[in-house]
């Protein structure tokens, strides 16, 4: 069997070391070694997006990343989204808008939405639907998810403007 490797990453902001075999995916290591079971396994072939995490800020399917490739990278999972002050605006919007039913796809949707809003804070409905195309939901029919992202975008802008105002940026 191939020798295990020591991998050092920044995981949800903290330096983290783990031991893995080359054949293990990042998804397996997150769930089975690091007990971060918020990231879900759906199709395991890159179609459903349930396992989406951010690697160096970019959304990826963690089922299609080898854990050894995370060496030196910054990885963010759903466990790293809420801050000490509470839920992220996206999480709040999903809850308040009931943008989930069974919930399996939700962590992946939230990670992709994080990446979308970081890059495009005011997306159109079209842009949201297209950006989230790599995340499948078999329950909701997507409308509530899209509306939750729109709500989060609005909250984010309000919050940003407020903090800018408080800091006197504008």
């Amino acid at each position: 069997m191939a020798k295990k490797r020591v991998v050092t990453t920044t995981l949800n902001g903290s330096q983290t070391e783990f031991l893995c075999e080359p054949r293990q995916t990042l998804l397996e290591v997150l769930r089975d070694t690091l007990d971060l079971t918020g990231t879900k396994e759906g199709c395991s072939n890159g179609n459903c997006g349930a396992c989406t995490v951010l690697v160096d800020g970019r959304p990826v399917n963690s089922c299609l990343v080898l854990a050894v490739e995370a060496e030196g990278a910054s990885v963010q999972t759903i466990e790293g989204v809420a801050t000490g002050e509470g839920l992220d605006p996206i999480q709040k919007a999903f809850l308040e808008g009931a943008a989930l039913q069974c919930g399996i796809c939700t962590p992946g949707f939230i990670m992709s939405s994080k990446a979308l809003l970081a890059q495009n804070p005011k997306p159109t409905e079209d842009e949201i639907r297209f950006y989230l195309a790599g995340n499948l939901c078999r329950c909701t029919g997507y409308d509530k998810i899209v509306r939750a992202v729109q709500d989060a975008s609005q909250q984010w802008q309000d919050q940003y403007m407020k903090s800018c105002h408080e800091k006197g940026c504008h």
Partner: protein
């Protein structure tokens, strides 16, 4: 997943030494979006995976007056995020925006898409119409192959054991030129092309006549096809519906699609004609300096 070793060399020569040492039992990996799945399902069974993302030549992205050099491992998101590629190699950016979802685009590369050699690969027709040449390094030295000659069958290509695709080289964009790629899929996004068409055109200064054109077809034969007769037939022709329709008919004539779950042969032939016309018109509009809104999914 089956057991394998992982190596991430930082030089091309080290990567080739590793490949030689493992004599056919090693696979190169760029984004891994095809490879990891193929290993998982047992279609491929490498003893070693050689990650090529740490090799500078394979991550190069250089755009200047002499053209474009695109390292084989550059992911799609960097390609459509590059202003020079969006403006001068538009068909390539069009392709990269619709390969998989954003998660796939974060990792998957055009070089990997080419080496995977799927008949429906979305980036290959764009490489062909933009005149890209594959630069291949191997034990016997470096050679170049025009992309239209790269694929030899479904999943098959000209790479010999130990050879590695280093980069794709494109000529500089000439004046009054434009390109586009578009596919037909039953969904709005995240699907495999039923038919995919790329086209590039160069117009005269008056922009009413073709100086040259290149048309390429995907998903309608065992490999992506360069439609040479259809392309050459446009040389010197006026830009009008008749010349465009004639090119579409000539392109249709070389398509040999199969019936499968994504579409029948008859349907694919029809769509080939329709798309060649639409894609040529979009490439012409771009050559005329018009902004073509290529919102994917529309």
């Amino acid at each position: 997943m089956r057991d394998f070793e992982y190596e991430a060399p930082t030089t091309l020569s080290a990567a080739m030494e590793l490949a030689a040492k493992h004599n056919g039992a090693a696979r190169f990996m760029a984004g891994g979006t095809d490879l990891i799945d193929q290993v998982r399902v047992g279609r491929l069974s490498p003893d070693v995976i050689i990650d090529v993302k740490k090799i500078a030549e394979l991550k190069a992205l250089q755009h200047d007056a002499s053209g474009l050099r695109l390292g084989a491992a550059v992911p799609c998101c960097e390609i459509y995020g590059h202003c020079g590629i969006v403006s001068d190699y538009s068909a390539l950016a069009d392709s990269c925006r619709i390969i998989g979802g954003v998660q796939i685009q974060s990792r998957g590369s055009v070089g990997g898409n080419l080496c995977n050699s799927g008949p429906a690969a979305d980036s290959t027709p764009s490489l062909i119409v933009l005149g890209a040449v594959a630069v291949i390094a191997g034990p016997k030295g470096t050679r170049t192959v025009p992309v239209e000659d790269f694929c030899t069958g479904p999943g098959k290509n000209v790479l010999q054991p130990g050879e590695i695709l280093v980069e794709l080289k494109f000529p500089a964009r000439v004046a009054n030129s434009g390109s586009h790629y578009r596919r037909f899929i039953p969904r709005n996004e995240m699907d495999i092309a039923v038919v995919g068409i790329g086209a590039s055109v160069v117009l005269n200064d008056a922009k009413d006549r073709f100086i040259s054109a290149r048309i390429a077809l995907g998903a309608v034969a065992a490999t992506p096809l360069f439609a040479k007769a259809a392309s050459d037939g446009l040389t010197g022709q006026p830009v009008n519906d008749e010349s465009i329709a004639a090119a579409a008919a000539a392109a249709r004539a070389i398509a040999t699609p199969i019936d499968d779950m994504r579409g029948t042969k008859e349907f694919r032939l029809h769509v080939t004609g329709v798309l060649v016309e639409r894609v040529l018109k979009a490439a012409i509009a771009r050559a005329k300096g018009e902004h073509v809104d290529c919102n994917v999914g529309h």
